[in-house]
Symmetry: C2
Subunit: 135 residues, 2 copies
Amino acid sequence: MMELTRKGEYAIRGIIFLAQQPPGKVSLISEIAEATEAPQTFLAKIFQSFAKIGIVNSYRGTGGGFTLGRSPAAITLREVVEAVEGPIVPNRCLIGAGSCDRGAECNVHPVWRKVQSQVVGILDSVTFAELARKG
Amino acid sequence: MMELTRKGEYAIRGIIFLAQQPPGKVSLISEIAEATEAPQTFLAKIFQSFAKIGIVNSYRGTGGGFTLGRSPAAITLREVVEAVEGPIVPNRCLIGAGSCDRGAECNVHPVWRKVQSQVVGILDSVTFAELARKG
DNA sequence: TTATAAAAGGATAAAAAAGGTCTTAAAAGG
DNA sequence: CCTTTTAAGACCTTTTTTATCCTTTTATAA
């Protein structure tokens, strides 16, 4: 339960790699894929979606590639995880009003809500500045 | 991310149902399935696996059915969730030594470890005595 | 302007997991 | 031995994951 998918793993490793490059360095998807041991075309898809939401910048053509969209300290683990895996929601019932008819009288709901807030809190407190630190 | 599967939902609802029955009452799988709105044959599979690990007792033949294997207060939410979903492991790398070659120098691992211990702690603290309470 | 480099986007597909059914066997009671 | 009820395993369908391939678009440089 609660396992990160490969997509999530590749995404995190990819962003860590970018965070470890000298500022301004543009990295090819082929470099990133090799360094993170991720399938290149798959990683490319992930980075395309990251470019759309501003986590990375992408540049086409000769000399193109990817850079981080913000400083590593301004990118949280939560943001990257949710970008690829969707929102952190331990129980379907929490998703939206009406999706669970047991809502009111169900004693399990508050437990999941607690789990959710704890996990979100932890992932929100970790930035890629820390994750990229070597040593 | 972190979503409980239907299997997990049915399992929890089924155990809550049993916990709400008068002590000693034997319930048919058909009753439990109807009450929890779960597919009967699917729920039967889940309860078979629960019988093996002692969460429930099963009785065949006329007058047979299922009862809780222990008092509701002695069954934790964690136990039921892990029985159907497998261990709570946010990152594959935590599963076993050697399954991740990045272990030592990886800064993400401690974060997942923290997530794991928080979630396990919460689910361990909730018993079916509380979950079965009505009102 | 032509060639080259690189990401973007779409279509497809294999593999795995989730979700569920069906059939036969075994146990218990009458 | 007949009925009721779970046990066990084979089987099937759908969805999600994990990719791959091909074409298009954008950018650069000769």
